[in-house]
């Protein structure tokens, strides 16, 4: 019975001009991203034998009895490491390259002191772009992250390690980078756009739908399921296009490839651990599925309460990006409530990579707490929906 209602809603959903427009915009954005942004991606830590060789040769030539003491101490080691890197690359042994490159990254990182007035070594240039005041901190974070990942990759035995794997260019890694870059927020915005008029549109078909022998809760759940499925479908379409446009050039990658997770234990040194990429993606899918359900349900609830499709768009859409109202570097260390605020957990990619911990400077922003808060919010919204739709004279269509 409900399936037929769902079927008709589904047909109506895709005949809706606004939904067609949203889907088209997502498709165009996906194609633009896959054909322009992805190919132009430049890793912060590129594998560049020409630069490695040039830097090595320069350092080698600069070594003389008149060199600074640090150069005398460091350059032989760096030259030796660069030579090992070049040899590994020459043999296309990327595990060996990762192992030695890790050592060099850590070696340089140890010699950059954010408190010093003069620096003899530098992190890759992207960290200094736009006069970034946190360049040295971000560079340190990046160095530790790449060192942890290179170490794990050098020990990875689950498949072939290529340059594309190290530079995170494979299909699955590109997906992960996209997720870490904020994909979740845009998918949630899409969910809100798809759901905002699902209830109010019925007003144009009042006499057809108002007498249906279906409780409002069931009808609303069918609508929620529909918008949820549509958004998950759009997500699947995005992933499919992303894979098709990258797999032949960079390879598919593997679910076992290590990916990093930042930790900031209180009173101890920050560090990175690694987890299989498949686990990262699975956790993302779980939180994404919950969040899409939450935002779809919330949007429908708001459209019932306000009997309007624009207010839910503003409120639910605004909530997605409302973290900006209180986010500033290190805020979590000062204001603990921010780690218990649901808005902090919408950008799931950053939660899963631990980057949110780095931004907030607290170890408390975790997948588990995100799951707890999002799950709690889902239950709360479900309870409100239950109370609203079970009122004696409640009707979805007025």
């Amino acid at each position: 019975m409900t399936m037929m209602y769902f079927h008709v809603q589904w047909l109506r959903f895709w005949h809706n001009r606004k939904n067609q427009a949203v889907t088209l915009v997502v498709l165009i954005a996906t194609l633009a991203y896959c054909f322009y942004s992805v190919p132009s991606y430049q890793p912060t830590w590129p594998i560049d034998p020409v630069t490695i060789k040039a830097t090595r040769d320069r350092r080698r030539s600069e070594l003389s009895p008149f060199s600074t003491s640090s150069a005398v101490q460091d350059y032989p080691i760096l030259v030796k490491q660069a030579t090992a890197e070049l040899a590994a690359l020459d043999q296309k042994d990327y595990r060996a390259y990762a192992a030695v490159a890790r050592k060099q990254v850590l070696y340089v990182d140890e010699r950059i002191d954010p408190m010093a007035s003069i620096q003899f070594y530098f992190y890759p240039m992207p960290y200094y772009a736009d006069d970034n005041p946190f360049a040295l901190y971000d560079g340190h974070y990046g160095s530790q992250e790449i060192a942890a990942r290179y170490l794990a990759v050098s020990r990875y035995r689950g498949g072939t390690v290529t340059g594309n794997v190290l530079e995170e260019r494979t299909s699955l890694q590109t997906l992960q980078r996209t997720i870490s870059g904020g994909l979740t927020l845009f998918l949630l915005l899409g969910a809100v756009f798809l759901a905002n008029d699902l209830v109010t549109n019925d007003r144009r078909h009042r006499t057809v739908v108002q007498g249906l022998p279906l409780t409002p809760w069931r009808a609303l759940t069918a609508k929620t399921g529909l918008a949820w499925l549509a958004t998950m479908g759009i997500t699947g379409g995005f992933i499919l296009i992303l894979i098709l446009t990258t797999v032949f050039r960079y390879g598919f990658g593997s679910l076992g490839i290590p990916t990093t997770l930042f930790h900031l234990p209180p009173g101890r040194t920050a560090y990175f651990s690694t987890t299989p990429l498949g686990l990262y993606l699975a956790k993302w899918l779980v939180l994404l599925a919950l969040l899409i359900w939450l935002f779809t349900r919330l949007t429908l609830l708001l459209s019932i309460l306000f009997r309007n499709e624009y207010i839910p768009l503003l409120l639910a859409g605004g909530a997605i990006f409302s973290q900006a109202l209180y986010l500033e570097s290190g805020v979590g260390a000062i204001k603990n409530w921010t780690t218990w605020t649901l808005l902090t957990y919408f950008d799931v990619g950053k939660i899963l990579s631990g980057y949110q911990k780095y931004l907030y400077q607290t170890d408390q922003i975790t997948f588990n707490r995100g799951l707890l808060l999002i799950g709690g919010a889902v239950l709360l919204v479900e309870l409100i929906v239950l109370l609203v739709t079970h009122r004696r004279h409640f009707a979805l269509v007025h």
């Binding site: 109506r12 006499t207 108002q210 007498g211 022998p213 409780t215 079970h390």
Partner: protein
């Protein structure tokens, strides 16, 4: 069984649209609700459907009341209202509309295909509704009610926009529905058509039923003639014989308890006054004229 118990519905600035209205209808009956536009007929159907909530009184369907969402759903499985054609889903086919109603009302008796064949809609039923003419949409709306196969059917202006052939077709189906045991509440302005099949006609005025005509009871006979501008003599003749005088000039002399000689005398008197003189009961259209034409 459908019961309406002392239902009062009022709207701001309109007062009581339904005023302490009561009604009881058993299955296997067609009940016509008759009144001019804006006098509460549709409000009555909305109250039955619970899309308008009474200020007082209640609606009972098979001993179920609208007390919560569960009973509302249970009642709605027992009744189906005729939708408005402007509310149809323009991009969806007629078949989809029929399937929706058939599935939601668990219709096991008829199929959308058989219903569309019965209403001669087979040629276009799979086309999007936006391609339909007004008459085709009206037939689809009726077909949707048929697809529900609900025990109680609320038909509001079902004959609107239909040609005489389709009026006859739908009238025949409505009569068949009665034979099948359906309870049909029909609101219509086609009173001559309604006269053909309705079992009971209820005239509404001021939020109340002002006339309840049992179409199966023996109807009193009248000698009916029309006078455009009656003279004083003609008016006195009618008045002394307790005639019903209608705003449109119709005069009806009650023949109950009159002898054949008396009737023959009246006939001889009125024949020179009017071109059309006939004997029969008061029709629904004539009741309508008497009650609502000023």
């Amino acid at each position: 069984m459908l019961e309406i118990n002392h239902v009062t519905v009022s709207f701001p600035q309109k007062g009581h649209v339904l005023d302490d209205l009561s009604l009881k209808i058993n299955p296997g009956a067609i009940v016509g609700i008759i009144a001019p536009n804006g006098t509460g007929k549709s409000t009555l159907l909305h109250a039955i459907l619970n899309t308008v909530h009474p200020d007082s009184g209640d609606v009972v369907v098979d001993n179920l009341r609208y007390t919560n969402q569960k009973t509302t759903q249970q009642i709605h499985t027992r009744l189906c209202a005729f939708p408005e054609q402007s509310d149809l889903f323009a991009e969806l086919s007629g078949t989809t509309h029929l399937q929706l109603y058939a599935k939601l009302w668990h219709n096991q008796r008829t199929t959308p295909a058989s219903i569309s064949a019965q209403l001669h809609m087979t040629d276009y039923i799979d086309q999007p509704v936006r391609t339909y003419s007004l008459g085709m949409k009206q037939r689809l709306c009726f077909a949707m009610v048929l697809a529900s196969d609900a025990p109680i059917m609320l038909l509001d202006e079902v004959m609107n926009g239909l040609d005489p052939i389709n009026v006859a077709l739908i009238s025949a189906i409505i009569e068949q529905l009665r034979t099948d045991g359906k309870l049909i509440v029909i609101v219509s302005h086609l009173l001559t058509n309604l006269q053909e099949y309705t079992d009971r006609a209820l005239f509404m005025k001021g939020g109340k039923f002002v006339l309840d005509v049992d179409m199966h009871a023996e109807q009193p006979q009248y000698l009916k003639y029309t006078l455009a501008n009656p003279t004083t003599t003609q008016q006195q003749f009618a008045q002394t014989r307790h005639a019903l005088v209608f705003p449109n000039g119709l005069v009806a002399l009650p023949l109950t308890d009159q002898t054949d000689d008396q009737i023959a005398e009246w006939l001889a008197t009125v024949r020179p006054w009017s071109a059309t003189v006939m004997v029969g009961p008061i029709t629904l259209a004539e009741h309508f004229s008497r009650l609502y034409e000023s």
